[in-house]
């Protein structure tokens, strides 16, 4: 039964990805801008333009191009980047981990910070501290990620240069990484000074990406916690002599967390979308930054590969979120 529903979800995921592929493929070819014109020097002969067009398969009909591309993708060949002249899959494998490390660090920050603020707000309910916390949280809700990025650059990069302004790692540390997961790998190999340098590079982009999500989590989770705290089972647990913190964490949280998980999943996909601009601001070598270059250069194979990677990531996140929601709500577990 469970195996069946997982299979069903995977089939749905494949169909969704196929849809994403179709839309991106068609859109990219309808939008004006010629990749060949970007590659070749001005004044090239029509013959050499046609030769190049044929080399990249851009002379065939649109459905034909799609089928050729799809067949290649199915066998793991995402084509060659036109602007970087490298294998798209290789580029993704190199850049995606950088973005994943950034996004997950931001997610962890948002969950810890947002969760702590929600719990603090619930403990402070009906005290003067509650409106203060709510107001500060409201301010954080109103500021988008790229504004945070620029403010952080000015504050912690320029005015008080605490953290490095750009890149992923200081060249001094650029040593023989076996995987593209630099932070994870240096932690696992106990190279703490390298890990600290990578983490320092991540601080500002992670704050920029994580703070808005933290505010959203804090708002939604606090609302749900407040609702749970007036339930009779909380009263009974209070009569047993549980502390307020224990009431919130042990009794209320598990019933309040469902909507927050669902929302965090959706918001996390927005956060990954936000990496495009934030990585650009901090010159962080992830897929978001690469996506902007790919679009500027009309690098069709790379854009297609990137969008598929983003799409697969979103689908995977949604799948995980659904599983988490069920795991936290025993009433959804059967049937």
């Amino acid at each position: 039964m469970i195996a069946f529903s997982i299979l069903k979800r995977l089939a749905m995921a494949a169909i969704t990805l196929f849809g994403v592929a179709v839309i991106v493929f068609v859109l990219l070819r309808v939008v004006p801008g010629d990749p060949i014109a970007m590659m070749i020097s001005p004044g090239a002969s029509p013959e050499s333009i046609a030769a190049l067009r044929a080399q990249y398969g851009l002379d065939a009909s649109l459905p034909m191009q799609f089928l050729v591309w799809l067949k290649a993708v199915a066998t793991g060949d995402f084509g060659t980047s036109i602007s970087l002249r490298r294998d798209v899959l290789g580029l993704l494998a190199e850049r995606l981990p950088a973005t994943l490390e950034l996004a997950f660090a931001a997610l962890v920050l948002a969950i810890l910070l947002g969760g702590a603020v929600a719990v603090a707000g619930t403990l402070l309910r009906r005290t003067p501290g509650e409106p203060v916390l709510d107001t500060i949280n409201g301010l954080f809700l109103a500021v988008p990620d790229f504004v945070w990025a620029l403010a952080l650059v000015l504050l912690l990069g320029v005015a008080f240069p605490v953290f490095p302004l750009s890149g992923r790692i200081d060249p001094v540390h650029q040593v023989d990484f076996a995987t593209p997961f630099y932070l994870l790998e240096s932690l696992l190999r106990l190279r703490f000074s390298t890990a600290a340098d990578i983490a320092a590079h991540m601080v500002m982009p992670v704050l920029a990406l994580g703070l808005p999500l933290a505010a959203i989590i804090a708002r939604v989770l606090k609302g749900a916690l407040m609702e749970a705290m007036v339930q009779d089972y909380i009263l009974l647990a209070r009569l047993k002599g549980m502390s307020s913190l224990r009431l919130v964490l042990q009794e209320a949280l598990r019933n309040a967390i469902g909507p927050t998980i669902a929302l965090t999943g959706v918001q996390f996909t927005f956060l990954i979308g936000g990496t495009v601009i934030v990585e650009r601001i901090f010159a962080y070598p992830g897929i978001g930054n690469m996506a902007i270059d790919a679009v500027i250069n009309r690098d069709l194979p790379l854009i297609q590969g990137l969008v598929l990677a983003f799409g697969a990531l979103f689908i995977l996140i949604n799948l995980l979120v659904d599983m988490l929601v069920v795991a936290f709500n025993p009433r959804l577990r059967h049937g």
Binding site: R126, Q231, D232, Y233, L235, L236, A237, R238, L239, K240, G241, M242, E251, R254, N255, F328, N329, P330, R331
Partner: protein, 286 residues
């Protein structure tokens, strides 16, 4: 002679929301160890306020303006909050009104039933589980092993109320407050639950305050009864005395208003307006 288990002395309370309208007016009552007291009254009579006051869970809109609640001689109203929490946690338990909302939907019965045992008695989870199994057998749950593993939504309303009764008696409290524990249940289940509370009370020697608006329930399980109207004690005494020879006109009218099972065709007799007028004049409601 030792102090009674519970004595409430001239308790007064007002609502901070409705311009200080009185909620309790000089309420006094005593409860001996092992006794079952019915706290009866219509909605707004103050019976729930008394129950909440002695559980230390009065809403912020209710303010106690005078009087004392003495539990074994110690005044709960002047006790430091930490000591009050410990005293209530160990010696006073609540059987709530609605079993649908009184169990945490996200935790297994075992966790909820053993919380207090682990927290207050310091039992290991194995010992607490054994104790929980025994408690569930005591409240006549047939397959306690399954119930311990179950989540609340997998149990019927009557089963949940049994679990809550087991939970109330888990720490062998000296006083159990039953807040209309049968209102949310089917009529057939109501009788079983009443009998169960009575049985548990007798085996454990626990005193019970039974909050209800049903004089029939009082007749079935209460040793004594205190009748409230608009926050004032109208009549108090042994159940048999009050029910057979009521002194106050309001009590008489209430008894006459109940359905007569021996004469089903006689219809219901509403409390006459003149009785309410006299009652309100007596209390000073004008």
């Amino acid at each position: 002679m030792t102090a009674p288990l519970l004595s409430i002395e001239n308790l007064n309370a007002i609502s901070t929301r409705e311009n200080g309208a009185p909620i309790l007016r000089d309420v006094s009552l005593t409860l001996e160890r092992g006794e079952v007291l019915g706290l009866v009254g219509e909605s707004g009579a103050g019976k729930s306020t008394i129950a909440k006051a002695l559980l230390g869970i009065l809403p912020r809109t209710v303010q106690v303006t005078g009087g004392a609640i003495r539990f074994e001689g110690r005044d709960l109203m002047t006790m430091p909050s930490r000591a009050l929490r410990d005293l209530i946690g160990t010696h006073i338990a609540l059987i709530p009104q609605d079993p649908q909302t009184a169990l945490n939907p996200g935790r297994r019965i075992e966790a909820q039933l053993t919380d207090a045992l682990r927290l207050r008695r310091g039992l290991s989870s194995k010992e607490a589980r054994a104790r929980a199994l025994k408690l569930l057998q005591e409240v006549h749950i047939r397959d306690p092993e399954r119930v311990l593993r179950a989540y609340p939504h997998e149990l019927s309303g009557g089963m949940r109320q049994r679990v809550l009764i087991a939970s109330a008696f888990a720490l062998e409290p000296k006083l159990v407050v039953a807040d209309e524990p049968t209102t949310a249940l089917d009529v057939t289940v109501q009788k079983q639950i009443l009998r169960l509370i009575r049985d548990m009370q007798r085996t454990h020697g626990t005193a019970v305050i039974f909050v209800t608006h049903d004089l029939g329930v009082v007749a079935q399980i209460c040793d004594s009864v205190t009748l409230l109207y608009a926050g004032k004690v109208i009549e108090a005494g042994r159940t048999a005395d009050v029910l057979t020879a009521p002194r106050h006109a309001y009590t008489k009218a209430l008894l006459a208003a109940g359905p007569r099972y021996d004469r089903p065709d006689s219809g219901l007799e509403p409390v006459p307006p003149s009785v309410f007028e006299a009652l309100r004049a007596e209390i000073g409601l004008g």
